[in-house]
């Protein structure tokens, strides 16, 4: 068996060498497979490398990775190991010393695996996929890979529009992967048993699994530089690929004994995922649509798993995970149960995405380790008009009511999240952001006076990010704001926020501009991404390493412009690069929602009234709960 050796000198020369050594508690070593490998250099089981295209500390904080690591290792016929993107310093050392990318568990070179699976959580990690393939000596393009090369696949939210990366992946898995990844691995096992002959036939067979998209079975058609849809290269390839969902979350494998990193990571805590999907349908939010329909796990299952996880991991914090915790119907039972079980054990709960009300404030008192941590609101837009456009079901009155409670309860730190560049936004809406912050400041002092509380210096933070139109949302056709528009809005808001109690945080515009190209891009970007990588672009998700100029220049070299991707699509007669993917929600629904947005009409949450978005086709969850 091949093992990659890294010298002590090389490890000592990089920041945080603990990232590269493995040996963590909970990492899976299949002794019998290892023995086979040591004796014969090969094994009959499928060897899978689960790759995270970012640094170790981020990858290890990723729940999807822990879930799928478990699913694959629960299979008798598979051994899954983990691989992370080496940080820039290690990348340089590896190139200089001729070290190949290797797995954490056995230090095997990446190309010795049968499957190399990437999880794509954000577009800006794309170049790191290439970095990993490069350091792993695996051909970039699916067309250049031989029967013996690993099968390279991906999944995660970015897989829904994988076109900009389509040439690099043999397979893209749509939707929730727990079952699908096992089915794909079973087919790969047969392929391996048969001596790895005819990779094309394998991929065609995989394409017949629901949710598996094999990009090489299709080719894009362009006319006058505009995308015209995909042409099937095999009559057997499916016309559309429908995402997979897990119907019964209570009975799907959950990593209650995850790998525990030896070094501190970004989110150093255990996770409990309480439900999938979101009942709200905010029109800018991709997660709100692609994870439909809402499916909950029962509080009983969750309590049991939460207690198990706390015991198995030794973590002193359990993070409750979902898109919107307050919408979980069993929240009280769950938190009561867990708080009870953790009594005296120095374990805290963390509950992000809580809607602030009496119950939430009470809960936050009970769960938080550091008292009176900040309150978080995401009104997303500054005026009610624009909030109606984006269907953000939160009104100023709600916010003020919650804050009144919170301020009376002694809170004084508030964080507000907004987006700039939402469709129909005017400068009036931008000003609304500052107005809201001022109203909150005033409210704080009013409440203190009324309640006889000694007023402190309130900390009100306003944070804006740039809105990027995403596939599978009602705004998928919209035009993106230009750099100048964004900068103008940021500057305007900066000029409005003068109080020393209000802090304004804005983000780098350029990163968002490139992200927007990737988000709605098509296959013409594959060459661009590869060329950008070869010019030294990677770790684009890290502001310090992001090279905006290089990307714009590379686009131009390929005869493309930023505007082309930013200008969006004509709703009625243009093809979308992701139209062959079916997330359950119909295109007609997205169109209707878009029209309603322009009429400033809201759509009620799933639980209030089903809007017949199409996700009822999965025949589970919220769509069926009331019926």
């Amino acid at each position: 068996m091949n093992q990659v050796k890294v010298s002590r000198k090389d490890l000592m020369s990089v920041e945080s060498p603990g990232r590269y050594v493995g040996g963590e508690y909970g990492s899976v070593i299949k002794e019998d497979v290892l023995k086979q490998l040591e004796q014969t250099g090969t094994c009959k089981e499928v060897r899978a490398a689960f790759c995270f295209p970012d640094v170790y500390e981020i990858g290890m904080s990723n729940l999807a990775m822990q879930i799928l690591y478990k699913c694959l290792n629960d299979m008798e016929d598979c051994w899954c190991e983990r691989v992370f993107s080496p940080w820039v310093d290690m990348d340089a050392v590896m190139r200089k010393s001729g070290i190949e990318l290797y797995s954490m568990e056995t230090k095997s070179p990446l190309r010795d695996f049968d499957v190399v699976a990437f999880t794509l959580g954000y577009e800006m990690c794309y170049t790191n996929v290439l970095q990993m393939l490069d350091l792993g000596k695996i051909p970039f393009r699916t067309k250049d890979r031989k029967d013996d090369d690993p099968i390279v696949m991906c999944g995660g939210p970015c897989a829904y529009n994988i076109e900009p990366m389509a040439d690099f992946f043999d397979i893209a898995l749509m939707g929730e992967g727990e079952e699908l990844i096992v089915e794909v691995t079973e087919l790969i096992k047969k392929y391996k048993d048969g001596g790895k002959k005819d990779r094309k036939a394998l991929l065609l067979e995989i394409s017949k699994l629901e949710g598996a998209y094999v990009p090489s079975l299709y080719e894009p058609i362009y006319k006058d530089g505009r995308y015209q849809g995909l042409n099937k290269l095999s009559s057997e390839a499916p016309d559309t690929i429908r995402k997979r969902i897990i119907k019964d979350l209570d009975n799907v494998p959950y990593p209650t004994k995850p790998v525990i990193p030896n070094i501190r990571i970004i989110h150093d805590r255990a996770y409990l995922e309480i439900f999938r999907g979101c009942i709200r349908g905010c029109r800018f939010c991709q997660a709100g649509f692609i994870y439909r329909p809402v499916r909950e796990k029962s509080p009983e299952t969750l309590c049991r798993q939460g207690i198990e996880i706390e015991h198995n991991t030794g973590y002193d914090e359990l993070g409750i995970l979902s898109l919107s915790s307050s919408d979980y119907t069993g929240l009280k039972d769950l938190t009561d149960g867990l708080l009870d079980a953790f009594e005296g054990r120095h374990t805290s709960l963390s509950l992000p995405s809580l809607r602030i009300d009496n119950f939430a404030l009470d809960l936050m008192e009970k769960v938080s380790q550091t008292r009176k941590s900040g309150l978080t609101f995401a009104p997303e837009a500054g005026t009610q008009r624009l909030r109606d456009v984006i269907n953000k079901g939160i009104c100023e009155e709600d916010i003020m009511k919650s804050l009144k409670l919170a301020f009376a309860g002694g809170w004084s730190t508030v964080k507000l999240y907004f987006m700039l560049g939402l469709p129909t936004e005017t400068m009036e809406d931008v000003k609304g952001i500052a107005d809201l912050a001022y109203k909150i400041e005033k409210l704080y002092f009013d409440v203190c006076r009324e309640q006889g509380i000694k007023a402190r210096k309130p900390e009100i933070t306003v944070s804006t990010s740039m809105y990027i139109p995403k596939p599978f949302t009602p705004f998928q056709w919209e035009k993106q704001n230009t750099k100048e528009e964004f900068l103008e809005k940021q500057a305007y808001l900066r000029s409005l926020i003068k109080s020393r109690n209000i802090k304004y945080i804005w983000h780098d515009v350029e990163t968002s501009l490139w992200e927007s190209v990737l988000a709605r891009g098509d296959r013409r970007l594959c060459d661009v991404i590869e060329a950008g990588y070869k010019k030294g672009c990677f770790y684009d998700a890290w502001d310090d390493h992001f090279k905006y100029e290089t990307w714009m220049e590379t686009l131009a070299e390929h005869g493309l412009t930023w505007e082309e991707f930013a200008k969006g699509f004509d709703v009625d007669d243009e093809h979308l690069p992701w139209e062959h993917i079916d997330v359950g929600v119909n295109m007609s629904f997205f169109k209707k929602e878009r029209e309603k947005a322009y009429r400033e009409e809201i759509t009620p949450p799933c639980r209030t009234k089903c809007s017949g978005c199409g996700a009822q086709c999965f025949k589970v969850g919220e769509c069926y709960a009331a019926k």
């Binding site: 000198k9 963590e24 973590y315």
Partner: protein, 242 residues
């Protein structure tokens, strides 16, 4: 009641008596590339997984009560470090180790533990001497040659300025070499919170003063073999220094 107030209460109640398990531990191989703070977290979690009744400090941000004898640099193996763990009730040291060891990551292991009452002197304060082993091609002769010098000046950066210090007084003696190999050398040197010689500083001096190859030095395997108390050459087992 707030959770942290609640735990504070509990800590106070339990804190009236404190039972300490003092263990030796080793950290070898890949685990050596985990930094000292991270290692403390690793121990904390392993002890929690083992359901051992570790005590927490009082105050706003309760911390598990664990004391390490001497921080260990990244990339250095150890076979003889110490940790004191405070428990809310007596757990036999052997049982403690049997429960915690399966919960530790690869390369980290507790051994030779004893039960003690609350130590009068902190573990950190009793350490005075460390024994190290260095393994690298031909390292023995040049390293032993350092002992023949009257002074060994090294430069280090301190607050932006470069200061020169003499590390010769920190070197105590060479130890009986277990193998006749020219590639292995074992030494005693000062260790602890007041006078401490860091192995990487010594390696650096070896290159500067003896012309030892920097690459070989960087790849040398360094192992802390044991920590001692007392005054050289009358060394005292740390388990006896309570």
């Amino acid at each position: 009641m707030l959770q942290n107030e609640r735990s504070l209460e509990m800590t106070k109640q339990k804190h009236q008596t404190e039972y300490v398990v003092r263990c030796l531990f080793e950290r070898v191989g890949d685990a050596s590339f985990v930094g000292h703070l991270d290692l403390m977290h690793t121990f904390d979690r392993a002890i929690r997984r083992a359901e051992m009744p570790i005590l927490y400090s009082q105050g706003y941000n309760p911390r598990p009560m664990m004391v390490f004898a001497l921080p260990l640099g990244v990339g250095i193996d150890t076979l003889g470090d110490y940790v004191d763990v405070s428990l809310a009730h007596v757990v036999d040291a052997q049982e403690f180790m049997d429960k915690v060891n399966p919960n530790l990551p690869k390369g980290v292991r507790l051994y030779g533990g004893i039960n003690i009452d609350e130590p009068k002197n902190s573990l950190m304060s009793v350490v005075s001497v460390a024994m190290y082993r260095f393994e690298a091609p031909g390292i023995k002769a040049p390293l032993m040659h350092l002992f023949e010098r009257d002074t060994i000046e090294v430069q280090k950066k301190s607050k932006g300025k470069i200061v020169t210090t003499d590390i010769r007084p920190l070197l105590l003696s060479g130890a009986q070499n277990p193998s006749a190999s020219e590639d292995v050398v074992e030494i005693y040197c000062c260790a602890g919170s007041s006078k401490n010689l860091r192995p990487d500083v010594l390696m650096n001096a070896l290159c500067v003063h003896e012309g030892y190859d920097e690459d070989l030095a960087a790849n040398a395997s360094v192992t802390r073999l044991m920590l001692y108390g007392g005054e050289y050459p009358r060394l005292i087992d740390i388990k006896e220094l309570l």
